[in-house]
């Protein structure tokens, strides 16, 4: 404290009397005083803290936090029929609007019973292999559609089909088919 010149009164007098015989202590105090004066000349005497608004706000918040809060009794909600009737009225309004909409729309009835489900168009024939030509014949005599292919590479005679797993005997399906079976299959659950 003596070095910082903070001793006063009797303590200062007693210490000053003793230190007169201690030159190293005197030199230390002079050095301290010199440093203090140099620092005081370099720094401003006072400086505002940075962001003073923020600083003040934090201080005010800290004060508020330490202040006991007064307990506020929750407001008792009073029962109101309005809270029930409003949603009910909204629902009833929507139902009524939907019902009026269905009644006011003219019913458009389209008879689809006789409408074709597949429109017949000209049959398309495509032969991707070069040199192959196809001719379509609507054969009335055979009661069949016939496509005649020309230019198809012949199957080598060495190819043997005797191992074919199913060779039809008796009737063939090409003369006894019926689309009614397909329809019944389609409509089956």
């Amino acid at each position: 404290m003596w070095l910082d010149d903070e001793l006063v009164g009797e303590e200062l007098a007693l210490f000053e009397a003793w230190v007169l015989g201690q030159p190293e202590h005197l030199a230390a105090r002079e050095e301290t005083r010199r440093w203090r004066s140099m620092i005081a000349s370099a720094l401003p005497a006072s400086e505002e803290p940075p962001y003073p608004d923020f600083f003040n706000t934090r201080i005010a918040q800290a004060i508020r936090d330490q202040t006991p809060k007064a307990t506020v009794a929750p407001e008792k909600r009073r029962f109101s029929w309005q809270a029930i009737l409003m949603p009910l009225a909204a629902c009833a309004g929507m139902v009524l609007a939907f019902w009026v909409g269905t009644k006011s729309q003219p019913k458009v009835e389209i008879d689809v019973a006789g409408a074709p489900r597949a429109i017949p168009v000209e049959q398309i024939i495509y032969t991707p292999e070069s040199g192959v030509k196809a001719e379509l014949i609507a054969s009335q005599d055979a009661s069949a559609m016939v496509i005649v292919l020309d230019g198809v590479r012949a199957i080598p005679d060495s190819t043997d089909f005797s191992e074919t797993t199913y060779v039809p005997v008796g009737r063939e399906f090409d003369s006894t088919a019926s689309v009614e079976t397909a329809i019944s299959d389609l409509e089956a659950p």
């Binding site: 489900r117 597949a118 069949a144 016939v146 199957i155 043997d160 005797s162 199913y166 088919a177 389609l186």
Partner: protein, 171 residues
């Protein structure tokens, strides 16, 4: 892995095992909307025995029908093989009438809903593993499609595509 994770994994696996086959079975695209038969005939003006001893004779009705069309008129006919495949609502089907040979293949799929009079198909005919013909065939109940195909052993192959009657339930 703790006990809860183990139980959850077991339950999830069990549900997946039950749900997957059910979902596959419920696929509406696999609905059977008909059956298509593909028959391969051997037509020749020579000796029909060249087709092999297993080649079957053709019914009088079919023979008369084939002979009535000038381009299909041959002296003799033999049936070499037949394959009947379901016509599915959304998926294509392949017929292999000369199984196990894949010399003749027919791919087909429905291109519209069948009517009482007609069924419309997208149809491809493959010979020697090459697509030779693509067409939109309209098959009617008693009106098949004949394709006069490649030469073989002095004759021609005729591919007949027709609607097949409903499969009889197995007793």
């Amino acid at each position: 892995m703790n006990r809860r994770h183990a139980i959850f994994s077991a339950v999830a696996t069990a549900l997946l095992g039950v749900a997957y086959p059910a979902a596959a079975q419920d696929d509406p695209g696999k609905a059977n909307i008909g059956r298509v038969s593909v028959t391969v005939y051997y037509a020749t003006n020579g000796d029909p025995i060249t087709a092999g001893t297993k080649a079957a004779a053709v019914s009088k009705t079919t023979e008369k029908r084939l002979r009535s069309e000038e381009r299909l008129n041959f002296k003799s006919y033999r049936a070499l093989g037949q394959d009947v495949q379901p016509l599915l609502r959304s998926y294509e089907s392949w017929a292999q009438p000369l199984k196990p040979s894949d010399e003749v293949l027919v791919k087909f799929e429905a291109s519209s809903l069948p009517t009482a009079e007609m069924m419309k198909l997208d149809l491809e005919v493959w010979f020697s593993r090459k697509k030779i013909l693509k067409t939109d065939a309209r098959l009617e109940g008693n009106r098949p499609l004949f394709v006069l195909g490649p030469e073989w052993r002095g004759g021609r192959l005729i591919i007949a595509v027709a609607l097949a009657p409903k499969e009889k339930p197995k007793s």
